[in-house]
């Protein structure tokens, strides 16, 4: 809720934790503390350094993996494979989810008719289907894509259905009485209502898709980051394993940030986003 007047400045000194600079400063301190604990736990051999190499060495390995001659080619190829499965799976589940969601959401009868089936299928864990996908598709990117689609489809579907049913009946009737045809209503009434839900679904499934893709690579040795991690684990090269785990986290973080950016720019007109800007 934007207030018209700024809160009166207090003359007493503001505690450091409430100042503007405290957010980045404390955040960096937190991360440094974590790194220090990691480094010490390994150097003082609280944990066997064979299994938990010091952070400094892992950080050096991260650089090696990114640009060093030994791992560079393998890493970027693996990353490309992972992202390929991620993007193709995400796009397919978006298309399927939107189409199915529009059909289910726009009609009350269809909604009731499919409700039990959707609620039954939705909680089935995606990774449980790994053996099936391997039997059907073999250890190929298709298997990864199929499971990513299964995992993300339900998320997109549910959000689209919610979005379509959330359309304001008054706005719908108003548009109808002003002579808007079905396409104009879809464009100007349903779409703006649906979009915030769709963007939330997209952001959630973007993260899920990455987790699922990497999981499959680890479990069934499909080509990608996960496979590379599993390989170096069985080779006993802990430094590379930790470096890859960190990099996987960075990729996840970047995906999350990018999708949040997209959400904010697509929904710049929406009150929830506008409100954040004002505050």
């Amino acid at each position: 809720m934007p207030t018209s007047t700024a809160p009166a400045e207090r003359t007493t000194r503001i505690p450091f934790s409430q100042t503007r600079v405290s957010t980045p400063v404390l955040g960096v301190i937190g991360i440094l503390a974590f790194i220090a604990i990691w480094e010490l736990a390994s150097r003082l051999e609280l944990v066997n350094p064979l299994y938990l190499p010091p952070f400094s060495e892992v950080a050096a390995t991260v650089v090696q993996v990114l640009i060093g001659d030994q791992y560079r080619v393998q890493f970027w190829t693996a990353l490309g494979n992972t992202m390929l499965g991620w993007s193709v799976g995400l796009v397919i589940s978006l298309v399927l989810g939107i189409v199915a969601g529009l059909i289910i959401g726009s009609n009350r009868w269809v909604r009731e008719f499919t409700h039990s089936t959707v609620e039954f299928l939705r909680p089935i864990p995606s990774v449980g289907l790994i053996p099936i996908a391997i039997v059907i598709f073999g250890v190929r990117p298709t298997a990864t894509i199929a499971i990513v689609v299964w995992a993300c489809f339900w998320v997109v579907l549910i959000h689209v259905v919610y979005g379509v049913t959330d359309v304001d009946p008054v706005a719908e009737s108003t548009a109808r009485s002003y002579g808007f045809g079905p396409f104009a209503r879809a464009r100007y009434v349903v779409w703006p209502t649906l979009l915030p839900y769709l963007m939330t679904g997209l952001r959630l499934s973007g993260t899920i898709a990455l987790v699922v893709a990497i999981t499959i690579e680890i479990v069934v040795q499909a080509p990608g980051i996960g496979q590379m991690i599993a390989q170096y684990q069985s080779a006993g090269n802990a430094k590379v394993v930790y470096a890859l785990a960190l990099l996987a986290g960075v990729v996840g973080l970047l995906i999350n940030l990018a999708l949040r950016r997209l959400e904010n720019s697509v929904l710049s007109w929406h009150p929830s986003v506008r409100g954040e800007v004002v505050l």
């Binding site: 991360i31 008719f113 039990s116 089936t117 039954f120 987790v211 479990v219």
Partner: protein
């Protein structure tokens, strides 16, 4: 009249599943491909292969690990979340760190944990624990942080502090967000339970399914996957019942608010 409504409900709930099963049944009637299962075979495998000692030997260890990991994550997540959420400094200290750690896909930790802990129960429980901790923890922090300001001031004015403030104000007020966190953690718990067993295990549901797959016993494999599905559906159902009870006041309040509008 009400009989007709009930009949319609039952019809609506059962029609599509029945259609799907019939289509599946008819579609695979003359199919000889061993990899395509038939509904009759899956059901018979469910009864003859899985029901009995196999269920106890393989499913119970899985559920045990799931329960301990998830339960631990909920306890630690809520305790830590309340502590961090109440302090502005702690929130800012941990913010970026938690944001990053959460972004690491939990299955990536599987090889790492196998290195550190080994192949036994502990590494699997710890993996489930770690994966479920973040949704619970982050949602609890958020819930504690965003409690109603006016209510907070009121409890302070009335001298409610320490434990009773926590018990009667902070926890109930953040309970909707805590339950959201737990709901997000449920599928993660099942996924990690299965993944840890598919990857490296000595027993468990995922291990047994992998064994069936490697020995080309497709029917029992499908039946096992159905069991995973049932566990997922059962957990979601149990959670919904508990949520309805715990958050009864919340749903009631929301209904009142929306009817006032």
């Amino acid at each position: 009249m009400s009989g007709r409504i009930v009949a319609r409900r039952v019809f609506m709930a059962l029609a599509l599943p029945i259609i799907i099963v019939v289509l599946w049944w008819v579609g695979t009637l003359n199919d000889t491909n061993p990899f395509v299962p038939k509904p009759v075979n899956v059901v018979s495998d469910l009864v003859t292969v899985w029901a009995g000692p196999l269920l106890v030997e393989q499913v119970v260890p899985s559920l045990y690990r799931l329960g301990v990991g998830l339960g631990g994550a909920i306890i630690v997540g809520v305790l830590l979340g309340v502590l961090v959420g109440l302090s502005r400094v702690a929130r800012k200290l941990t913010g970026p760190l938690f944001e990053f750690v959460r972004a690491v896909p939990p299955p990536v930790l599987l090889p790492v944990l196998l290195l550190v802990i080994g192949i036994d129960d502990r590494s699997k429980i710890f993996l489930i624990f770690l994966g479920c901790l973040w949704p619970v923890l982050l949602n609890t922090i958020d819930g504690v942080r965003s409690v109603d300001q006016v209510l907070g001031d009121t409890t302070r004015t009335y001298g409610l502090r320490g434990w009773s403030r926590l018990r009667y104000f902070v926890l109930p007020a953040s309970m909707p967000r805590i339950m959201t966190g737990i709901r997000l953690a449920l599928p993660i718990a099942i996924i990690l339970m299965v993944v840890s067993e598919l990857y490296a295990a000595l027993d468990g549901l995922g291990y047994q399914i992998m064994l069936f797959k490697q020995t080309f016993q497709t029917g029992p494999m499908w039946a096992g996957i159905f069991i995973i599905g049932f566990i997922g559906i059962l957990l979601a159902f149990i959670f919904r019942v508990i949520e309805r009870r715990v958050l009864a006041w919340y749903y009631g309040q929301r209904e009142v608010e929306s009817s006032e509008r």
